[in-house]
């Protein structure tokens, strides 16, 4: 990645923007506080100087009233000698200097009305003559004498300038550090976001097994990455499922369609009306089976998309178990077997009564078809109970069972174990039950019934998916 583009993207990160906004707010507050201090300090110092000057002017004016110009000159001389930092000048009405430590009146003062003025004057320092700033009060004594009393404010101004410079430097440094920090933060952030983006791109280009690297710090980005990885796992699982299903559909739907077609063709060659009739009946039967398979597939797809939850209501699971048990009891007994029912009085839960009944019927059909040894009569138990806070509906048989290694596999679509291939069925029964369980936020558990199979529909009471 070109350096300039990287930097540009760095500036565009949300972290950097946040840092920048924070920086601006911080700079404004620092500036405001320091500015206020600066302004207040200068104001206080100025006021102090002005008060001193005003007091001195007052004193000199009084002296003049008592002793005239000699008195004024004596006071000035005295003050100058004490070096109180004051600046004085007394001049005749025509502007001739009579005394004081200022060499001359500043320009333009003579024509001015009395008042506050700021002026420059020349002082002698060890490094030579320099010009200093001063502030003073200019007035005219009775008899037209000019009087200027002032203070050197060079240091005051210098002080202000130092504060001002400090302020500017402080703000400048804050900005530099802030921007630097922001860039540093966003660089880290950007690096990790780039890792996520790179993974997403890799996956889009077909590398499904790529995963976002985790830092192991458990921070919010790590959590996001972990959630993304979980999602990717789920997507990969679904895609694998889809692939398997499409190849299974190809096989399991094509086979009966082929058979159907062959049968019709065969009947067409014959001239026997009885043969035609038989073929047509078989055709309808094949078509019905195909439709059942289609409907089951469609239902599973809908259930997995979570669309079929609209029919949820309060129901009594124990009652459903009893009703379905009662529905199946005669057929099991006709086969010489027994169907036991165990359920408490009531088991309230939220769910879809029709779907739960459908699931139980599928499990019972399976138990009847596969849940018996050789020619032994089926011994089936259907029941409902509370199991770790959930509701467990189960159908148990005493047949050959399912090997533990296959218990997950048989829930997939179109999966039929070799032992059962010869029996009629679509291989969708358990997938349908699994979908119904998932739709209710529960699961289908297949367990060893010692002997036989115990299929448990474990459903939450509140029906939340």
């Amino acid at each position: 990645m070109p350096r300039a583009r990287w930097t540009f993207r760095l500036l565009k990160t949300s972290t950097f923007r946040l840092a920048a906004v924070y920086l601006v707010v911080f700079a404004i507050s620092v500036g405001a506080v320091l500015g206020y201090v600066y302004w207040q300090t200068l104001k206080l110092l100025d006021e102090q100087a002005d008060e001193t000057i005003a007091a001195e002017v007052q004193g000199i004016a009084e002296q003049y009233a008592l002793n005239g110009t000699p008195g004024v000159l004596a006071v000035i001389k005295n003050r100058t000698r004490l070096d109180t930092g004051g600046l004085y000048l007394l001049a005749t009405p025509v502007g001739k200097r009579l005394g004081g430590n200022l060499k001359s009146l500043p320009a333009n003062v003579l024509n001015n009305e009395p008042g506050w003025i700021e002026f420059a004057y020349v002082v002698e320092t060890p490094r030579g003559l320099t010009e200093h700033k001063a502030r003073g009060f200019y007035t005219r004594l009775e008899g037209g004498y000019h009087l200027l009393v002032g203070r050197d404010i060079q240091e005051l101004r210098q002080f202000g300038k130092i504060i001002r410079n400090t302020l500017i430097w402080a703000l400048g440094l804050t900005a530099i550090l802030g921007i630097g920090g922001g860039l540093l933060l966003s660089r880290n952030f950007l690096r990790r976001i780039d890792a996520i983006t790179a993974t997403v791109r890799a996956i889009r280009s077909g590398r499904m097994s790529d995963r976002v690297p985790l830092e192991g710090s458990g921070d919010e980005l790590d959590r996001l990455a972990a959630a993304l990885n979980d999602m990717l796992d789920e997507i990969e699982r679904l895609m694998r499922g889809m692939k398997e299903v499409s190849s299974n559909i190809a096989h399991d739907l094509r086979t009966p369609l082929n058979r159907l077609r062959a049968q019709a063709e065969d009947a067409l060659r014959s001239d026997d009306p009885a043969e035609h009739r038989r073929a047509l009946e078989a055709t309808i039967e094949h078509a019905d089976n195909l439709l059942k398979t289609f409907n089951a597939l469609l239902f599973i797809a809908r259930a997995e998309a979570g669309q079929a939850a609209a029919g949820f209501s309060e129901l009594d699971a124990a009652e459903v178990v009893r009703e379905i048990g009662e529905l199946y009891q005669p057929i099991v007994e006709d086969e010489g077997g027994s169907l036991k029912m165990t359920a408490p009085e009531t088991l309230r839960m939220r769910g879809d009564r029709q779907l739960i009944a459908q699931a139980l019927v599928n499990l019972l059909d399976n138990a009847l078809k596969y849940g018996r040894r050789d020619d032994e009569p089926p011994q089936i138990t259907i029941g409902a109970e509370v199991c770790d806070g959930h509701i467990c509906l189960f159908v148990a048989d005493r047949g050959p069972g399912i090997p533990e290694s296959e218990t997950e596999h048989v829930k997939d679509r179109f999966v039929r174990l070799d032992e059962s291939r010869s029996a009629p069925g679509s291989g969708l029964g358990l997938s349908l039950v699994t979908s119904i369980a998932r739709l209710h936020g529960g699961e289908l558990i297949l367990r060893d019934n010692k002997p036989g199979l115990r299929a448990i529909l474990k459903l939450p009471r509140d029906g939340k998916t």
């Binding site: 309808i284 019905d288 439709l291 059942k292 409907n295 809908r302 079929a308 609209a310 029919g311 009703e323 009662e326 529905l327 199946y328 005669p330 057929i331 006709d334 879809d352 029709q354 009944a357 459908q358 019927v361 599928n362 059909d365 009847l368």
Partner: protein, 224 residues
């Protein structure tokens, strides 16, 4: 019976009309919702067969309009939308029954005939009688030729449904829906076993069987 079919698929409607005529019914056809609404308003029909998805006006709206106008002709919805929710929607709109496409004609015929009969049925019955088989709904007693027959509660319900629809074919799906209140296709022959048990109780010791199997369709209870 005089039946109005509102269906835009002309080929499907053709098969349907042929089948219903062969069963002895008179049929009319409307090919879109508006035409169907007009014909249903003006004709005196015993049963309406309405496709849910129709041009110009969909089946649900059509029936809602009719019901609002006070027309109570029994109506059966035909729909490719076969889920339970869709069924509930259809029944809420005023439909009396609902059948999902693709359907077996025998199933449709049985349901249409039950609907047509409903219109003329007496509103409240406390006794049902088919031949010498009698059912007292208040005392919950069943007798045949004066001899009392002991039935389980579910068998009683099953027989009650068959007696209420005596002379009509009832399908296995209809029985599962109305006697057990479950709306899925009975996969195995569970219903047949219940029927055969009932038959054992009401027909076995008597000369003339009342409960007949109608091949490829379902069952019928009739006296002759």
């Amino acid at each position: 019976m005089h039946i109005l079919i509102i269906e835009d698929d002309k080929e499907a409607a053709g098969w349907l009309m042929k089948g219903l005529r062969e069963a002895g019914h008179v049929t009319d056809l409307a090919v879109d919702g508006e035409e169907g609404l007009n014909m249903a308003r003006n004709g005196d029909y015993d049963v309406l067969i309405i496709d849910r998805m129709l041009p110009k006006m969909d089946g649900l709206t059509l029936l809602k309009t009719l019901r609002k106008e006070g027309n109570q002709t029994p109506a059966l919805f035909l729909s490719a939308l076969g889920e339970v929710d869709d069924k509930v929607e259809g029944l809420r709109a005023g439909g009396d029954d609902y059948i999902a496409k693709p359907y077996a004609f025998s199933e449709l015929l049985a349901r249409v005939e039950v609907l047509g009969r409903r219109k003329t049925a007496e509103p409240v019955q406390t006794r049902l009688k088919v031949g010498d088989l009698e059912m007292d709904l208040l005392k919950r007693r069943v007798t045949r030729a004066g001899k009392e027959i002991q039935l389980q509660p579910r068998e009683f319900k099953l027989l009650e449904y068959l007696m209420r629809h005596a002379g009509n074919v009832v399908t296995r799906t209809m029985l599962l829906e109305n006697v057990w209140d479950y709306h899925f296709d009975p996969q195995t022959n569970v219903i047949d076993v219940h029927i055969s048990r009932l038959r054992g109780k009401i027909d076995k010791e008597f000369d003339k069987p009342l409960l007949h199997t109608v091949r490829g369709a379902g069952y019928m209870l009739r006296a002759d």
